[in-house]
């Protein structure tokens, strides 16, 4: 399926904001994220002609590469993307530099600072710098301190730091990390990444809600009976067991991506479309969010772990049998929970969130279920009239569906459900996978709208604190339920909803 970009009349039409001259410094330049996401995104920006000529990308990591090594490694890793644009890559690679740096050695950072001055002169980047911390979270704090000590963060208008996820392991560590980071730089210089916010379809929730008159009046407790937010993966832990064992589904997905979707879905309209106005509203709604039963959180949460499964052609290992996973691991690969939002708009409306690995489909969606009509005037062709639902599909098959009842053809007056459909594909072609493209550009443009502010991160951790404490202090109260690979999680997760007479939507 072609994308909007292949519409010849659209070429060059979008007036993109111009990225100002600057130097982008990537720590962790030899790592996985750099060659899988960051350099491809930067190359894409280059192909879109959004990179200014006064620009530099300086890769940093401990290994003693030269500029040339860095260029060659990136070229080799990106071979597929480059093959159609060899010449452009050659031009682009003129921006690439490399400096060996161990973030824990202050003299390395001082040396880096000197090198950056040289590169600044060479590339005429006006002293503008964006630092990207694509290293282990253990180095976020010390990395910022080292940059601060070398004077690299002194000018709040000319330097920014981008910090990858995860930001902290729980409320107190996130708070501490915020304190460290904020002691090194102004909050306006700090860009905490949540790549879900870079997705076109997540941003579209804001546009759908606030650019149309028909949704906002019914977007509340008077009309909505419940909300489900799902993000599921078919893959297992793959080669990231080391990381995943210490993280699990709550920290890897629920606290950040699902909670950001919750915030965007439930926030109040901001007074203006301005970064702080939007982040204020997101922070407020997260601060108002509570687990459905904070005192006995085991009543509102199900944890699961995938067991073996698959079919005779393809057998799938259980989580505990995966490479690098502890045989008795109690890391959850599935989590489902129920949340309330304590404000006027959402009082009493349950929000159900679930995420897991090795589920039958890869998908992200938000389902708003509307209340029943007060009187059923018509008999339904199925047992009961289905409630109206608005389904916002984040991925794949991006778009939205509205389910409502119509008259079933023929004599009589029976009703049946039908669907009204907006498909991103059909309207615009395939959405480009531009999460990192968008976010990198925004950070370099000093636009923080799609980045999470300190209070948002802290509120998101605080929301799950009762669960995290329970998992640490009395894990037996929140046991890990096994589920067969490629099923929709442990059967107990259905009970979480059936208590309320609701079912998970089967996508």
């Amino acid at each position: 399926m072609p994308s909007t970009l292949s519409n010849p009349l659209r070429l060059g039409l979008r007036q993109e904001r111009v990225i100002p001259p600057q130097c982008l410094i990537i720590f962790g330049a030899s790592g996985d994220l750099t060659h899988r996401k960051l350099i491809p995104a930067l190359f894409e920006l280059y192909l879109q002609r959004r990179i200014p000529s006064e620009f530099a990308i300086v890769g940093c990591a401990r290994r003693p590469w030269s500029d040339q090594d860095f260029k060659e490694k990136m070229k080799a890793k990106l071979a597929n993307q480059i093959s159609e644009n060899e010449n452009e890559w050659e031009q682009f690679s003129n921006y690439l530099f490399y400096e060996p740096v161990d973030l824990q050695q202050s003299d390395h950072v001082v040396r880096l600072s000197k090198r950056l001055n040289e590169i600044d002169k060479l590339q005429a980047t006006h002293g503008n710098k964006t630092f990207y911390l694509s290293v282990s979270p253990n180095f976020y704090g010390s990395g910022c301190k080292a940059l601060k000590a070398a004077g690299l963060l002194d000018d709040p208008k000319k330097s920014r730091i981008v910090i990858e996820k995860p930001f902290g392991r729980d409320y107190s560590s996130a708070k501490k990390l915020n304190q460290i980071v904020q002691s090194c730089a102004d909050e306006s210089q700090i860009y905490r990444i949540d790549h879900y916010l870079g997705k076109e379809t997540v941003q579209n929730i804001l546009v759908m809600r606030f650019a149309n008159t028909i949704f906002e009046p019914i977007w509340n407790r008077n009309y909505i009976s419940s909300v489900q937010i799902t993000s599921s993966e078919t893959v297992g832990v793959e080669d990231r067991a080391g990381y995943y064992e210490s993280s699990g589904a709550l920290r890897d997905m629920l606290q950040n991506h699902l909670t950001q979707m919750l915030a965007v879905t439930a926030m109040e309209p901001p007074g203006k479309f301005e970064p702080e106005a939007i982040r204020n509203e997101k922070a407020k709604v997260l601060q108002a969010s509570k687990l459905a039963d904070e005192n006995e959180p085991w009543n509102c949460c199900i944890r699961g772990q995938y067991a073996k499964g698959g079919n005779s052609q393809k057998r799938l290992k259980g989580y505990r049998d995966e490479d690098g996973v502890n045989l008795n691991s109690t890391t959850e690969t599935y989590i489902a929970t129920k949340v309330f939002i304590d404000n006027w708009r959402w009082q009493g409306v349950p929000f159900y969130l679930r995420t897991g690995k090795r589920l039958p489909k890869r998908l992200g969606e938000i389902v708003l279920t509307f209340k029943d009509v007060p009187v059923h005037l018509f008999e339904s062709t199925i047992i009961n009239p289905a409630p109206n639902q608005l389904i916002l599909r984040i991925q794949p098959n991006e778009g939205a569906t509205f389910k409502f009842e119509v008259k079933s053809p023929g004599s009589g007056m029976k009703s049946r459900p039908v669907e009204m459909e907006f498909s991103y594909d059909e309207s615009f072609g395939e959405p480009s996978d531009e999460g990192y493209v968008r976010l990198l550009a925004d950070a370099m443009l000093s636009d923080p709208t799609l980045f999470t502010r300190s209070d948002e991160v802290e509120a998101a951790w605080k929301l799950y604190t009762p669960l995290i404490e329970l998992m640490e202090d009395a894990p037996w109260k929140l046991p890990i339920q096994k589920y067969e690979s490629m099923t929709w999680g442990p059967p107990e997760s259905d009970q979480l909803l059936s208590k309320d007479n609701i079912f998970w939507r089967r996508p």
């Binding site: 399926m1 909007t4 292949s6 519409n7 010849p8 039409l13 007036q15 059909e426 309207s427 615009f428």
Partner: protein
């Protein structure tokens, strides 16, 4: 957006003292309050219509240089009352000639250069220089200066300040003395823009003086003869100078609406079978339509083959790389209403013939929101698949369009515009051979 007035009444100074005065202004203050590190904007601001209306007592002064709704209303009414053709633009020479018949000799307060829209002031221009030619012949050069700090909503940040200079006098004294004054006012390292807010056929020496300097230009090709305008566009891109055209900017919603129609992948094949395009315009200037056709043909990689003029109609033919012929036509239509800008596009019809079976073919119709555009729909295309779209009218003021350009441009000509100019010049030249 409300015009913003300078905080300080501009000070009249002999022109020899201006640059000294301005230098003092920024040095004597504490270091924090240095001037904005942005750009210089020069505006050629004849405001002939407003000057005539004020001097003939049809509106009360002062002269501001802004095209207010009141001016538009009165000028439109005059066009009709005086029996001019209904399509006459309020910028037209005919209207001015009529107005100049009975002007008073009184002097009126002239605030040109002191009023500027907040959309421009929020960009914090470092220096605003207004060239304000007067109707009165033989008026000597007068110069005024003032500092300004736009009031920002964000009270925490230090206001970023700029200064403004007004150079007033008749055209010939501006040409002889005014330009020398400007020479001394350039700020090194900051880009300079010239907004030519007047007809491109007049005061050509002054205009040429600026183009020779390599200043970034903002012009409006609806206001000038197509020949002169295309020459300016052509020369700018040949000499690699940044040029922006408000007439092209106003085409934005047409480009966007047409592109939007072909966003659904299922509609892309229509583009490969286009056989006809008809563009309806308001009478008086075909350049905007020519730019629109040039843009489409450039994007779809058509090659220009010939142009013919049949009365008012302009027919342009292109070829696709498979040899297929595409006929396009620019059709000036009389409007019931005087316009602000001449020759604006009001409708577009595009026919794509995929097969001999009519219902497999497509007719795309874009029309502006006003009533005149409905005529394209009367073409008996009922047996084709019809896609219709209403193009919203551009209501923004020139000041607002200029501020958009200042805020977003890298200081080069947009590649889209540049390519369209190349095609338009090629078509126009072959017409005039």
């Amino acid at each position: 957006m409300k015009p913003q007035l300078t905080l300080q009444t501009p000070l009249e100074l002999p022109h020899q003292e201006i640059s000294n005065y301005l230098n003092q202004l920024w040095i004597s203050e504490d270091e924090e309050r240095s001037g904005a590190n942005t750009f210089t904007l020069m505006v050629w601001q004849p405001a002939w219509l407003e000057q005539c209306l004020v001097k003939s007592g049809l509106i009360s002064g002062p002269i501001t240089g802004t095209l207010s709704p009141e001016i538009i209303k009165i000028a439109k009414k005059l066009i009709i009352d005086k029996g001019l053709s209904h399509t006459t633009s309020i910028y037209s020479e005919e209207l001015l000639i009529l107005l100049k018949e009975n002007l008073s000799n009184n002097d009126f307060e002239d605030f040109r250069g002191q009023f500027f829209e907040s959309s421009i002031s929020t960009l914090n221009p470092r220096r605003l220089i207004t060239l304000a030619p007067t109707l009165n012949k033989e008026s000597e050069i007068k110069t005024f200066v003032s500092a300004y700090c736009p009031l920002s909503e964000n009270t925490i940040t230090q206001p970023i300040c700029g200064d403004l200079v007004v150079i007033r006098g008749d055209s010939s004294s501006i040409n002889q003395k005014g330009l020398k004054i400007i020479d001394k006012l350039s700020i090194k390292d900051l880009p300079t823009w010239l907004w030519w807010n007047g007809n491109l056929d007049e005061s050509q020496e002054i205009f040429n003086y600026f183009t020779d300097q390599g200043i970034r230009l903002i012009i409006d090709t609806a206001n000038g003869s197509p020949k002169r305008c295309l020459r300016i566009l052509d020369q700018s891109i040949k000499s690699n100078k940044a040029i922006n055209d408000l007439n092209w900017v106003r085409l934005k919603s047409w480009r966007e609406s047409l592109a939007m129609i072909f966003d659904p992948p299922s509609r892309r094949p229509i583009l490969d079978h286009i056989s006809d395009i008809d563009i309806d315009i308001a009478e008086g200037n075909f350049l905007q339509a020519l730019l629109l056709i040039s843009w489409i043909s450039d994007k779809l990689k058509w090659v220009f083959s010939k142009i013919d003029k049949h009365g008012e109609l302009i027919k342009i033919e292109f070829k696709r790389n498979n040899g297929d012929k595409i006929s396009t036509c620019i059709n000036p239509v009389p409007l019931g209403n005087p316009s602000i800008h001449l020759g604006q596009v009001i409708g577009l019809r595009l026919i794509s013939k995929i097969s001999e079976v009519p219902k497999n073919n497509t007719c795309v119709i874009l029309g502006c929101e006003s009533v005149e555009c409905m005529r394209l729909e009367a073409g008996g295309m009922a047996d084709m698949q019809l896609i219709e779209q209403v193009v919203p009218n551009a209501f923004s003021s020139s000041e607002f369009d200029v501020s958009k350009l200042l805020g977003s441009s890298r200081g080069n000509t947009s590649p889209l515009f540049e390519n369209s100019i190349k095609v338009a010049v090629q078509i126009f030249n072959s017409f005039n051979k």
